[in-house]
């Protein structure tokens, strides 16, 4: 066997690697479902507080009619996400935007809003963290999908050469 051939991983090594990635993939799938369920319970919880605010303030007071439209003045998001590299992996994290043109979304619904509105705001802010966590898991799932595809192709080509 030449030195060049020794560098090329054997089919057995590739299969072992494929097994490891598939196990990791299963864990990631479970993790994604867990994140989605967290998001679901948060959204339901937040929606209850929005409904309570609606009951207190009136039907149209907490609705899309209060949201800014294309004719509103421009403003920046106060919560954004940033991609950083952690242990060789690209991950997203939530950051607070410290630009001057951010707005307090509660002001769209009035000056004195009920306590439930504040609660809904903090619940949805927390949900954004779960969302970014879920996106990170999803990105790893996509990376692994590509790896699995590549390894399968490699193993198949090895089989053809062996035959």
């Amino acid at each position: 066997m030449t030195a060049q051939n020794e560098d090329v991983p054997s089919e057995a090594v590739a299969c072992e690697l494929l097994d490891k990635i598939i196990v990791k993939q299963l864990h990631l799938m479970e993790e994604k479902m867990r994140c989605e369920l967290n998001i679901e319970s948060n959204i339901k919880n937040g929606s209850i507080h929005l409904a309570k605010s609606r009951y207190i303030m009136g039907q149209s007071s907490v609705s899309t009619t209060r949201l800014p439209t294309e004719s509103s003045s421009d403003f920046s998001a106060s919560t954004k996400c940033e991609t950083i590299e952690e242990d060789g992996l690209k991950v997203m994290k939530v950051i607070e935007n410290d630009a001057e043109d951010t707005v307090n979304p509660l002001r769209w619904f009035g000056v004195l809003v009920p306590q439930n509105m504040h609660k809904a705001k903090s619940i949805f802010q927390n949900t954004i963290n779960y969302v970014v966590e879920c996106v990170n898991v999803q990105m790893q799932l996509q990376t692994n999908l590509k790896l699995i595809e590549m390894l399968k192709q490699y193993i198949n080509s090895e089989k053809v050469t062996a035959a």
Partner: protein
């Protein structure tokens, strides 16, 4: 210039969803209307045409200031072909449940793609 770059760091999270999802996430602070008066959110109700949702989704995908697109799973079902055709990792498209429609893993594009990899014929050799 450095201050401007610092203030503009980070990318947006956009949302396509029903009234409560949009109101909630905008309360959370992700909403923005940029200098060109383009919002990063779309409220979908029962009268919104599917073509409009698809157009908005494609617009969000093209925008380079958006890193995450949140979409309610029941709305994602209406434009499934467009979501399945999106393979790029960024912007990440995340299907989220809504208060009326619980999360269904069997409908999620990414999970379906991941499950497709576990074809028994491919794995048992």
């Amino acid at each position: 210039m450095a201050m401007h770059a610092l203030a503009n760091r980070g990318k947006l999270i956009s949302v396509i969803g029903d009234e409560d999802t949009c109101v909630g996430f905008l309360l959370g602070g992700i909403g923005e209307i940029n200098k060109n008066r383009h919002p990063n959110f779309m409220v979908v109700d029962k009268n919104t045409p599917v073509s409009e949702i698809e157009e908005c989704f494609k617009r969000f995908v093209k925008r380079d200031d958006i890193d995450i697109i949140l979409i309610n799973q029941n709305i994602a079902e209406l434009i499934r072909h467009a979501i399945d055709a999106h393979h790029a990792p960024v912007p990440a498209v995340l299907e989220i449940p809504s208060k009326d429609h619980p999360y269904d893993a069997s409908k999620d594009s990414i999970l379906r793609r991941a499950k497709g990899m576990f074809n028994p014929e491919d794995l048992v050799r």
